[in-house]
């Protein structure tokens, strides 16, 4: 099955993405992750002002069957949470790269994302060579 992996994003092999705009990174999960999870029924996100750390858990996503950690691609401070999504987590699946974003983080070091996966690297990883 073919999924979309926008070129302007950086990816983790644990299926989170980050879109960097200046010093603000918008973080979400990929279309591939959404498909693998199935019906999403629960989201747990940090609060504005919380610190997140690169490679560390910042929240939880649950489908009917699975519980998965959300890992941060960056280190920094949460400046915004997509709180409406917490009350309607099933809507994440409709637009994971747009309306389905999870948190925005003011990053300590924008260069931190340089070693994250590019769209093509991530695609190769999840879909196989």
């Amino acid at each position: 099955m073919a999924f979309e992996y926008p070129d302007d994003l950086k990816y983790l092999d644990s299926h989170e993405y980050a879109r960097l705009d200046g010093e603000i990174a918008t973080i979400g999960i990929t279309a591939f992750a959404v498909d693998q999870l199935g019906d999403i029924v629960f989201l747990e996100l940090p609060e504005v002002g919380d610190a997140v750390e690169k490679g560390e858990k910042f929240g939880t996503v649950e489908s009917v069957k699975a519980v998965e950690d959300l890992n941060s691609p960056v280190t920094g401070t949460v400046v915004e949470c997509n709180t409406p999504l917490i009350d309607a987590p099933e809507q994440l699946a409709d637009d994971p790269y747009g309306e389905g974003w999870l948190i925005k983080v003011r990053v300590d070091d924008p260069g931190e994302l340089d070693d994250a996966l590019s769209a093509s690297e991530y695609q190769e990883q999840v879909e196989g060579g």
Partner: protein
């Protein structure tokens, strides 16, 4: 699942038909089984509102034949199987001497053949097929009966939902409206011999149909074409949990008794003689049980899952055995063992989820009951 794992797993005769439908496969007790096709919620909904079908060919299937089968199997279960007329069935449990549950299963009585041999069909969980066979054989006199394991020789398809009878009727000669719940018969399925029962694991009306693999494959294709929605083990789990039906190995096991598990309705101490585990159940009935399997409803969005600790007044008192977001009710539901004094409806408890306590309330089982 890696390819090397998959190579070790058993497959049912419907495996390739499931793959054709883009089933996502998972390992389930040594079998490679469909966990979902187009989505658990969608499949769940199909069973609640119309009809869905499940490949459950991985389940264990035994045939017991002999002059005194009843007398012998009565010793293995707490239910009075002598109540069964030909064409009736009983959901029950095999018990160990501590009254722990060896497995939960259904005994189907088919009456006597021309030579006075009683004929019984037994359907058991997939994961426990071997264990049950060893257990039963070690407690039955095999000189006096034939014990046939026909697990691999047959497919088993569950057709479940309010429209199940209507869909299935097109492919079965006998009139399904005459089959009562837990009734069963040897039926003609697509002009071939089969066995069908009005049983299931979803909390809806429905049937389970056992046939030779070729007939099973044809039935699967026919039902699919007629519009029955293929469903995987994911929906099977959410459906059975809404109906508060126990899952062996999770909600019940060798260390839980039927009285603790809320299965007291299948313990018939008054009407039958001795059986394995009887003295323990008598004592539990007299003294009361220490713990009970209860229904929990979470008070917020957090979902209690298998193994999460249950608290009362800040102290751990029990454990969640099954939990999910209920697709029908839109709330998080769970089954949990708690001490008997805390087991009454409306009892406030808490569940520990990722290090924090969240409120839950004991509710009556089942969570969902179909409209009659």
């Amino acid at each position: 699942m890696t390819q090397s794992d998959a190579a070790l797993l058993a497959r049912t005769p419907l495996y390739d038909l499931c793959l054709e439908l883009n089933a996502r496969m998972t390992e389930f007790s040594g079998w490679e089984m469909p966990v979902q096709y187009r989505g658990i919620s969608r499949e769940h909904q199909a069973v609640r509102t119309a009809a869905g079908m499940f490949d459950i060919s991985h389940m264990g299937k035994f045939r017991l034949t002999g002059k005194n089968v009843l007398e012998q199997i009565q010793r293995l279960v707490p239910s009075d199987l002598s109540r069964l007329q030909s064409g009736q069935a009983q959901y029950t449990v095999l018990l160990n001497p501590q009254a722990g549950i060896v497995d939960d299963l259904i005994f189907y009585y088919q009456g006597e053949d021309g030579e006075g041999n009683q004929r019984w069909v037994v359907i058991v969980n997939a994961a426990t097929t071997q264990k049950d066979q060893v257990w039963m054989k070690s407690h039955l006199d095999l000189n006096q009966m034939e014990f046939q394991d026909c697990s691999r020789a047959n497919t088993l398809i569950a057709v479940q939902g309010p429209e199940a009878a209507r869909y299935l009727q097109s492919f079965v000669k006998e009139d399904l409206s005459t089959v009562k719940p837990f009734g069963h018969l040897e039926a003609t399925v697509l002009q071939q011999p089969g066995f069908l029962a009005r049983t299931g694991y979803t909390g809806e009306d429905g049937f389970e149909v056992m046939t030779a693999p070729e007939t099973g494959r044809e039935l699967w294709r026919s039902l699919l074409q007629a519009g029955v929605v293929p469903c995987g083990l994911g929906a099977r789990d959410t459906l059975r949990l809404e109906a508060a039906m126990a899952l062996y190995g999770q909600d019940i096991d060798d260390s839980t008794t039927p009285l603790e598990a809320g299965l007291g309705w299948l313990v018939h101490l008054d009407t039958k003689g001795d059986f394995i585990g009887r003295s323990i159940l008598e004592k539990q009935k007299q003294d009361g049980v220490q713990r009970r399997l209860v229904g929990l409803q979470m008070q917020g969005r957090n979902i209690a899952r298998h193994g999460y600790p249950v608290y009362a007044d800040g102290k751990p008192v029990g454990e969640v055995t099954s939990g999910t977001q209920s697709p029908t009710l839109g709330i998080a539901i769970a089954l949990a063992y708690v001490p008997t004094p805390l087991s009454k409806p409306d009892q406030a408890l808490e569940v520990e989820i990722r290090g924090k306590l969240y409120p839950a309330v004991v509710v009556k089982r089942p969570f969902y009951r179909r409209a009659k």
